[in-house]
């Protein structure tokens, strides 16, 4: 039976996130945008359970669904996109531990992650020379002779919260025999020797979240920190991204929604002052297009999320949600900037910030081009 409404538990998560975002985050967003890492807010999110929305209750999570997660993500992103992306990656790492981890890993690492002991979590897949072609990654993990550990050497690039996270999920090559099949996932403790943090990127948007390079130099990672088994890393990464794409779609919708609201309010104010013929209808037409695309985007995000919740394969649907939602959100932010008037183009205005924050959503967790490739592949596959 088709049901487009969240269930009670999901609605409660949506409302909890919205309540926190509207009352607390909204007031901090400008400071985060000015470069302050949302440490306090991440701690708040942990207390609310929002760092482990899907993680089982027995390990400190909320034990809820992907649908709950995307609704919370949208609500948080509406007020502070920097906090939202920090939250997104942390949840993603937790989801992977819950899915692929053993009992000990879930008991210690997942519990600590959900409880906020790690601050944020980081996900390290991309490298200086490998982004979309993730299976080609070169960061090495060589097993020690006694089998007790792996030695990591190499670099990772564009790592959200990489300098802040208490845990990093790192994909590294354990074998050259197979491209994708030679990759293994590790739960890396950044306090161990050999872990280095590189340059912090200066970004167009999401300035409250940090983006850094990571360098591993002869770093010994205990074999017990392998997530899943050797050679399973690419599967872990792709599973993470299917869910992650719904999350980024939701983040984009949230950011755009804030821009739309600000633009509509600004244009309503202007309309009272300026009765120039035609402007009324033109901004109305823009509003209609913005709202329609956002509605469609949100439905695509919910569809993919609900399929993942039902345990279905949703590679095509998640890619559709991501590419559509992020492009719709960029369109909305652009149009909002055109409508809202000069004061909303200031760096510290809601629309100005949204315009900067939303751009990267078309790039990270799989560019628009990669999403289209995935969709195209799935279309042919279904023939």
């Amino acid at each position: 039976m088709i049901e487009l409404q969240p269930n009670d538990a999901e609605r409660a998560v949506w409302e909890k996130a919205a309540q926190y975002a509207d009352t607390v985050l909204a007031g901090r967003a400008a400071a985060h945008d000015a470069g302050k890492f949302p440490e306090e807010s991440v701690a708040d999110l942990a207390k609310l359970g929002l760092l482990g929305i899907k993680s089982p209750v027995e390990y400190g999570g909320l034990g809820c669904s992907m649908v709950a997660y995307v609704g919370a993500m949208r609500a948080v992103a509406r007020r502070c996109a920097s906090t939202a992306v920090t939250m997104a990656v942390t949840n993603m790492v937790g989801d992977m531990i819950a899915l692929f981890g053993n009992e000990a890993q879930k008991n210690t690492r997942l519990r600590a992650l959900c409880g906020g002991d790690y601050g944020a979590g980081a996900f390290a897949l991309s490298e200086p020379a490998f982004g979309s072609d993730a299976a080609g990654l070169q960061c090495k993990a060589v097993r020690t002779d006694d089998g007790s550990a792996y030695v990591l050497d190499g670099s990772k690039m564009w790592i959200t919260s990489g300098d802040r996270a208490g845990i990093a999920l790192v994909m590294a090559r354990t074998s050259d025999a197979s491209k994708a099949g030679g990759i293994t996932a590790f739960l890396v403790d950044p306090k161990l020797p050999g872990f280095g943090v590189g340059r912090a990127e200066k970004k167009m948007g999401l300035r409250g979240s940090t983006t850094v390079a990571l360098h591993f130099e002869g770093m010994r990672v205990p074999a017990s920190d392998v997530l899943g088994s050797e050679g399973m890393g690419f599967k872990v990464a792709m599973t993470a991204l299917d869910g992650g794409r719904c999350g980024i779609g939701a983040q984009a919708v949230g950011i755009a929604e804030a821009a739309l609201q600000a633009a509509v309010q600004a244009s309503a104010k202007r309309r009272k002052a300026d009765k120039t013929a035609g402007t009324d209808q033109l901004s109305g037409f823009r509003i209609a297009d913005m709202a329609t695309r956002l509605d469609a985007a949100w439905l695509l995000v919910l569809r993919a999320s609900s399929m993942l919740d039902a345990g279905k394969r949703a590679t095509r649907e998640a890619a559709m949600a991501k590419v559509y939602a992020t492009e719709a959100a960029n369109f909305v932010a652009q149009k909002a900037a055109e409508m809202a008037g000069p004061e909303q183009l200031r760096d510290d205005s809601i629309v100005g910030r949204a315009l900067r924050d939303v751009r990267v959503s078309r790039i990270y967790e799989g560019t628009s081009e990669i999403q289209r490739l995935v969709i195209g592949r799935e279309l042919v596959r279904a023939l």
Partner: protein, 386 residues
Amino acid sequence: MDFALDDIHQMVQETARRFADSELLPIAAEIDKKGEYPAEKVKKLAQLGFLGMAVPERWDGAGLDNLAYAIAMEEISRGCASTGVIMSVNNSLVCDPILRHGNDEQRAKFLKPLARGDLLGCFALSEPGSGSDAAGMRCEAIRDGDHYIVNGTKNWITNGKEADICVLIAHTDPSERHRGISAFVVDRRESPYGIGKVEDKLGIKGSSTTSLVFDNTRVPVANRLGEEGAGFKVAMSTLDGGRIGIASQALGIARIAFEEALAYSREREAFGKPIGDFGAIREMLADMATEIDAARLLIWQAAIGKDNKGRFGKHSAMAKLYASEMSARVCHKALQIHGGYGYVKEYNAERHVRDARITEIYEGTSEIQRLVIARAVQQELVAGAR
């Protein structure tokens, strides 16, 4: 949350799909070429219960809901866009207002045969001089004892030639605009009116589009739908529902255009491989598929909203706006993927472009949809500002 269809809706989808595959796809090109009304197919639609889908069984309808209707409309229009619009008008613009605004007597007399498909309906709102500005209509229905005397011309009437029953919107008080308008069920057999010009159209050539000429046509007072002066409301709420049907029609047209383009992209080779293996073609196909899915979700949202008896006007306007413009984009790309073959009538791609175009115009142009949506969104986002 669940986006999967339940058994009943799946059954409707399969029934409609099978009918489209076996009965409509084989004849769609021919009825387009000849401009021939698919009378036999419409009869078969009636046997399937598709002419009164959301009408309760009590009134001889299929007793389904608007979601089922939207699903069936998509599949039928995938088979043949002309058949789709014939079905849409009878369901949305004729059965629906009689069901919602008619009294039991009117339902028994008109709705039953319409839902069974014994009679076919049309809906007369637009005029030569008024389309989007519906309240600017000139057609008058002036009370004379227990009749109204109707004078005026209606334009762009789908099913105009074949219809036995016309839901007519006319001024009963020409001194008022919206509030002076009333709705009627006109039975052409009892209250004869003339069929004017039969239009020669760009697309959906299998359905008739005519003007209707009322020249002192006498319509019994008993045939008035709702109160005198309530006609504008009847018309607007009818169109809210109709937009779900047209959005589904646009979606069905896009589906077939996409499916044919995808198949063609696997068959046709260039530079030693199928053209579908080239990034440019694959990107077009990915965008087409994504937009098709987005439109379907908007349509389902609106249909479910109507089924739940909530406010669905904004959602149906969004569905109609998005699906119709999506369909134009998808059909345009599908033709492009076919190259020169897309431009000639040996293939169907050019027909889909022609068929899709009207969905951006009838039952409220894209511009009207944007006005409806903008008004609703502004009210939501600027609470109390107006």
